[in-house]
Assembly symmetry: C2
DNA sequence: AGGGATTAGTTAGTCCGGTGAACTAACTTA
DNA sequence: TAAGTTAGTTCACCGGACTAACTAATCCCT
């Protein structure tokens, strides 16, 4: 079962546990069950969550009053006893604004419903904007999406490049010229709705975990675009790291005799794997297949210690599918299997993302779902 | 702040949160504060935990009645107002039985107090025992320690080699001939006290985290002995992994052209780093310093992706200090710094264990503290 | 010396959320 | 039509934390 872990929400600093928290927790439990298994009766929910029918009725009643959940009538089949009334999440009761700031030339925005479906989408060319100008563009995009929304807004979720801390401050994003930019605060004060910001690879991991074909167990989503980043879901929740830099794998050196990297070092994973480098080397290669296999082997060698040490269950490659889903994927999988214990390698699933280019947008929506409803 | 995470304790399967759970949580909160910061007044505790003075008084009263906590009188300095009464954990109110099954020729046992201090210790030679015979020896050692204990026993903590699941079943420990051995259950039914079992490297990580010089933030403890294993503390709690095999880094291949390993592969980390191999290569080396540096570089290269991806704060080397704490440690640190981003490498601390050979025993005690009192 | 001011800890009463037991409701089966 | 079964609700209660208001013990200042 996916653990209920509010991501990004300001935790009670003390750690004390109020009755109110218990009630929110139980609400999340019910919502989680409804999201995961679809509509169910109150009695079903009571059985699956372990709460009493009384408590479930009370909580469901509350959520029905808020329109978050709706009654769907009786199911078709008929058994003995009073027929149940199914209740389900009203996926379009409220909408979420999701922003993806990870492309290098533009920013993407969407209105997403509670089921993770994109309702409308927009984008704005970045045209070289940096710093405040880039932040203004984000504000503008958010305003447009909110103005065009047909439902109440649950919150705004943002997947941003760079290192983002738990309070939604972008600590460092060279491409956008952001350093210590309190993006969540500025969006929140401007729009008045809850805002959650995380690194784009981390949101991708959340998206894949919640709406992708995730099987449970530890998962790593490796996002390959202009740069390379990773997001990790461990024991059911997103890893942040000591300085919020978990997943910053792009500038780990994998080959000290490799290419020069923009960061000043030599042989960073990005020089091996980032899309521009990959395409360039592919164009120059005598045998594209062999080149992809070789790249996959190197990637596998770098990831094997990570996969092995964490005993991960899934490795998801997200990026240009035509490059990743073939010789490269196969080589990564084989190399990792060859380099880890059977108990680890045999269980490992290596696959490409099932959500494609929307993974960051959808993940940004999950950020809001998790923060506001405790669902993930 | 260290997160309060019961390790090994059977979680309520449903996830529902009773008032009783809240009370246990608050008790843990208080105990945690007392363990971490030493004796404090009820009013201090109220301030630091965010609970009201009334609630704190109530909970402290309960724990004083159980002798878990004791009143220590007024502090020396005097300020305005009624002088407070300090309360502190009664470190010797109950004792813990800790077992370390990681040496290959014997098993170690100790009685440990709540402050992590070893009161008495014993050992038994293994003399080649396997399977049931080895299990019987463990039972015998536990019986002897319990019989000799002068205080009530809070529980038994065991650090075992091999893969151990969350319910205390040793899934696979070739050295002891255990495969799916329900060690926790058998010890519990024999002794009638709560039992917690975990992998020895994992308990080492717990020990170092709680009683070592841990600074907070992600930590990895690499244990180098007959084999090589790791334990990871991420976001304040121990990582288990998909098949409970997190930390099983010993048989990750780090050099495909390296030595043959007992596991059948070539160039596993163990062939590089396990104590017997290390000593053998050291004896054969022209320059021991250079050999240790070379080994450190290889280790650093294997760990850099892990440290970088997880944004760890501390890497602790546990094992023969005379081999680890010098050229090897320095080379590991330098290599990881050279191979990770500044935000990660600059913050990293690489050091040897402060608990020495007792780290597994002490960690096994932490297992019990965490499971029974919610302290870690 | 004596009355604030200040801080610690306790007592009394309240509120909140979940519970079990017992109810009503609505169906199937014989 | 009666018996059995399942869904959902009502009601009295309980545990645990909270607030408000107390007592206790000290310092400090006049």
């Amino acid at each position: 079962m996916t653990q209920v872990t509010p991501v990004g929400r300001q935790l009670r600093p003390s750690g004390k546990l109020l009755q109110e928290d218990a009630r929110r927790h139980h609400r999340s439990l019910l919502l989680q069950a409804l999201f995961r298994d679809g509509p169910a009766s109150r009695a079903d929910l009571a059985r699956s969550t372990g709460l009493t029918r009384v408590t479930v009725s009370d909580l469901v009643g509350e959520m029905v009053a808020e329109k978050l959940v709706e009654e769907l009538g009786a199911p078709v089949g008929s058994r003995v006893g009073k027929p149940p009334t199914l209740v389900g999440v009203a996926a379009d009761s409220t909408h979420i604004i999701a922003l993806d700031l990870s492309p290098d030339d533009r920013i993407l925005g969407a209105v997403v419903n509670l089921a993770g479906k994109v309702i409308t989408r927009t984008e704005r060319p970045l045209e070289g904007r940096h710093g405040q100008a880039a932040q203004d563009l984000v504000h503008e995009l958010a305003d447009e999406l909110i103005a065009g929304a047909t439902k109440p807004i649950l919150g705004i979720g943002v997947g941003s490049p760079g290192v983002v801390d738990a309070r939604g401050v972008v600590l460092d994003a060279p491409n956008l010229g952001w350093h210590g930019t309190a993006l969540a605060d500025s969006l929140r004060s401007r729009t008045g709705v809850p805002v959650f910001v995380a690194n784009d690879a981390n949101t991708a991991a959340l998206g894949e975990h919640t709406y992708g074909a995730a099987e449970g167990g530890g998962m790593m989503v490796l996002r390959i675009g202009t740069g390379v980043g990773a997001g990790l879901i461990l024991e059911g929740s997103l890893l942040h790291g000591h300085r919020a830099a978990a997943g910053e794998i792009g500038h780990v050196v994998v080959d000290p005799r490799g290419e020069q990297c923009a960061c000043g070092r030599t042989g960073c994973l990005e020089t091996l794997l980032a899309e521009p480098h990959l395409r360039r080397r592919l164009a120059a290669a005598a045998s594209p297949q062999r080149m992809l296999t070789e790249t996959g082997k190197r990637l596998g060698a770098a990831l094997a210690p990570v996969i092995g040490t964490l005993n991960l269950h899934e490795l998801v490659l997200s990026g240009p599918t035509e490059l990743l889903d073939g010789a490269l994927r196969d080589a990564v999988e084989k190399t990792i299997r060859d380099r880890t214990m059977p108990v680890i390698g045999d269980e490992l699933v290596v696959r490409t993302s099932t959500l494609g280019d929307d993974v960051v947008l959808v993940g940004a929506a999950v950020l809001v779902l998790a923060g506001e409803l405790g669902v993930s």
